[in-house]
């Protein structure tokens, strides 16, 4: 159901092709986990938070080590032109107020929304879906 930020492509790990498998016997990261780092330089839900011609895009730097911490980012980039439901590979392909998400029904530009019910909200029958950046939702 949830939408995932489409900006990360992962690391090339040789994938499993034997009958050996890993099991996880508990939490490998004892103690209280540190919160994700938020490096927000603009507000993706405010269409005027970036200079003219730019848009504010959220993204995630995924941890590269076990028990590592995500970094949630928002940055201004030149705005893309693709609107709702247009195929995309990167957030910067999408126009102001939108970003690119893995949706389960094609990677698409989706309008950003607030999960707490405050505007901007979704229209045309779309629902503000949870993404893997909990501060922003995406209309799908």
């Amino acid at each position: 159901m949830g939408a995932r930020d489409a900006g990360d492509t992962g690391v090339d790990i040789p994938y499993f092709d034997t009958n050996v498998y890993d099991v996880y016997r508990g939490n490998p990261c004892p103690g209280t986990p540190p919160p994700p780092v938020r490096m927000y330089t603009c507000d993706p839900l405010n269409t005027s938070s970036c200079p003219a011609g730019q848009s504010c895009y959220p993204s995630i730097d995924y941890p590269t080590m076990v028990c590592g911490v995500e970094t949630y980012r928002t940055d201004c980039f030149p705005a893309g032109t693709s609107g709702q439901d247009t195929f995309c590979m990167f957030g910067t392909q999408c126009r102001v107020g939108f970003s690119c998400f893995v949706t389960g029904a094609m990677n698409r530009c989706l309008r950003l929304c607030r999960l707490d019910g405050r505007p901007p909200q979704c229209d045309n029958g779309t629902v503000c879906e949870i993404s893997d950046i909990p501060d922003f939702g995406a209309c799908q």
Partner: protein
């Protein structure tokens, strides 16, 4: 005491023994006496066994008795002589294997037919027998030859919040029923991390056990899901999770006992670059089967392929991950389901141009029975596919998601076990607004379709309607929830007494939470 008549015994010379044994009803005597032996009285001839008849002394020699014959006047029972009670015992010729007090018919006889000697239409389920309560389960529970006796489902009118306020936002992953309680699984954020939680629920949706909510995924990394299925003794759950470094979500599996406790460590199913997402699980009767979308061969292109995995009953991988869709087009969001003759799977694919729903029928080792089938109408932007086996066919539902479409309805179609068309696509919902996220409950001769619909006040509510096996509407489109806060993403399961449990996302209280409601089985009063 005369012992001379048995000199061939007494010559053994154990005189003191023989002085007791010969002529007495001892074990030693019984071995030596019997038919043919010389005797003076009937008593000397008795071997002590009742069922082989009464031995008698005739003209100085023991003669065998006539074995006891136990004749039954009932053709549905057979008699036998019981030595312990020294009487005839009569046993039914047909079994009551499930112990419900009703017997299976003789082979070749319908239950209850003359001469059948049994009227239990299912002697392997104690809940199915003549006089049993008929419930909405797609089964002829009372053996009257009618599935569910025209039962209908009606909304309970009672919605229950399942996820606690400590996790927010939350949305459902799966719902399954053990025969005693539901297992609800859902994702929720806690300290900015999404985890998978489970809760064991009673019929009304109240938590069972302490704590009723358990965090399934322990590592501090995002996890979403989990789809869940009950196999008769335990649950299988599958979710995507990025606990391992590298940034990619991977597929994980575990088994849970009826109370929701994990039966082993989490099993990592995929080791692949990029994202492995949106897994679904089902049980074939002997194995778990999992399907998911996987980016490993198309990194950076935005395209996914469908992969499959078999696991044995103990949750061990059988063979490596199996690539199912080989093209370089985008294939996503599979739903796999087990039927009596194999597996079915639906998913969204771009192979026909736009987003469309495709279907494949396969055997339990993932061999296709037919080439993949395009299900949704040409040109329709079709997503959200779901699949169930209903009596003798696959039923597939999805919704039209095209921005420019005037439709935006829930659609359905059916295919037979081999994938051949039975019912062409038809609309299940019809209204000017949006109908989305269909899920289905098979009832044999009918089907309950449950979805989210914003026709009332523009806010999504859970709706349902009954349709025939051929998708002909049987009931109006009916709201299940009435809250104004947006009820979406229903996932359903059979429940107790013919209930259908519904887990869904809801925002009526402000925060996005996972809620439960149910449809109640109502059987028309029978004359």
């Amino acid at each position: 005491m005369s012992r001379w008549s048995h000199p061939w015994v007494c010559v053994l010379g154990v005189y003191t023994v023989l002085s007791v044994g010969c002529g007495a009803r001892s074990g030693l005597r019984d071995m030596d006496a019997g038919p043919g032996w010389e005797c003076l009285t009937n008593a000397e001839c008795s071997d002590g066994v009742y069922c082989n008849g009464v031995e008698t002394c005739i003209e100085g020699r023991c003669a065998p008795g006539a074995p006891v014959v136990c004749m039954s006047t009932d053709p549905c029972s057979t008699g036998a002589c019981d030595e312990s009670t020294r009487a005839c015992v009569y046993t039914p010729v047909t079994p009551d294997a499930d112990g419900d007090g009703y017997r299976a018919p003789l082979p070749g006889f319908p239950p209850g037919a003359p001469g059948s000697c049994g009227n239990d239409c299912n002697d392997h389920d104690p809940n199915i027998h003549p006089g049993a309560r008929e419930i909405c389960n797609g089964i002829d529970d009372n053996c009257d030859g009618i599935i569910d006796n025209n039962a209908t489902l009606t909304p309970s009118g009672m919605d229950v919040q399942v996820s606690t306020s400590s996790i927010e936002p939350s949305e459902p992953g799966g719902l399954a029923y053990s025969g005693e309680s539901y297992l609800a699984s859902y994702a929720g954020y806690e300290d900015s991390k999404s985890h998978v939680y489970t809760a064991t629920l009673d019929r009304m949706g109240a938590g069972v056990g302490m704590p009723s909510q358990v965090r399934l995924t322990q590592p501090p990394a995002d996890a979403f899901g989990a789809d869940a299925v009950w196999n008769g003794t335990e649950y299988g759950v599958v979710w995507d999770d990025r606990r391992d470094p590298g940034g990619g979500y991977e597929i994980y599996f575990n088994r849970l006992d009826p109370s929701g406790q994990r039966l082993g460590p989490d099993l990592r199913v995929t080791y692949a670059p990029g994202f492995s997402l949106n897994p679904t699980v089902d049980w074939t009767g002997s194995e778990w089967v999992i399907a998911w979308q996987d980016e490993r061969n198309e990194i950076g292109s935005g395209s996914y392929q469908i992969f499959l995995q078999r696991l044995d009953a103990e949750g061990r991988l059988i063979l490596p991950n199996q690539l199912f869709t080989h093209g370089r087009v985008d294939d996503e969001s599979p739903v796999i389901a087990a039927g009596p003759e194999g597996l079915g799977m639906v998913w969204m694919s771009l192979r026909s141009g736009g987003r469309a729903v495709w279907f494949s029928a396969m055997d339990n080792t993932f061999n296709r029975l037919l080439p993949d089938q395009l299900i949704s109408p040409a040109g329709q932007e079709s997503v959200g596919a779901n699949l169930v086996w209903n009596h003798d066919r696959w039923t597939i539902a999805w919704y039209d998601d095209g921005d420019s479409s005037p439709d935006h309805e829930v659609w359905a179609a059916t295919r037979d076990a081999g994938g051949v068309l039975r019912t062409a696509p038809v609309r299940v919902s019809m209204n000017p607004n949006y109908s989305r996220y269909p899920t289905m409950y098979p009832m044999g001769d009918r089907l309950a379709v449950v979805w989210a619909d914003d026709r009332i006040d523009g806010a999504y509510k859970i709706f349902y309607r009954m349709v025939s096996r051929d998708l002909v509407p049987l009931t109006p489109e009916t709201p299940v929830t009435m809250a104004p806060g947006g009820s979406v993403y229903p996932t359903i399961s059979r429940g107790p007494a013919g209930d259908v449990g519904i887990l869904f996302r809801d925002q009526r209280m402000g925060p996005i939470q996972t809620w439960f409601t149910r449809l109640v089985c109502a059987i028309p009063v029978q004359p």
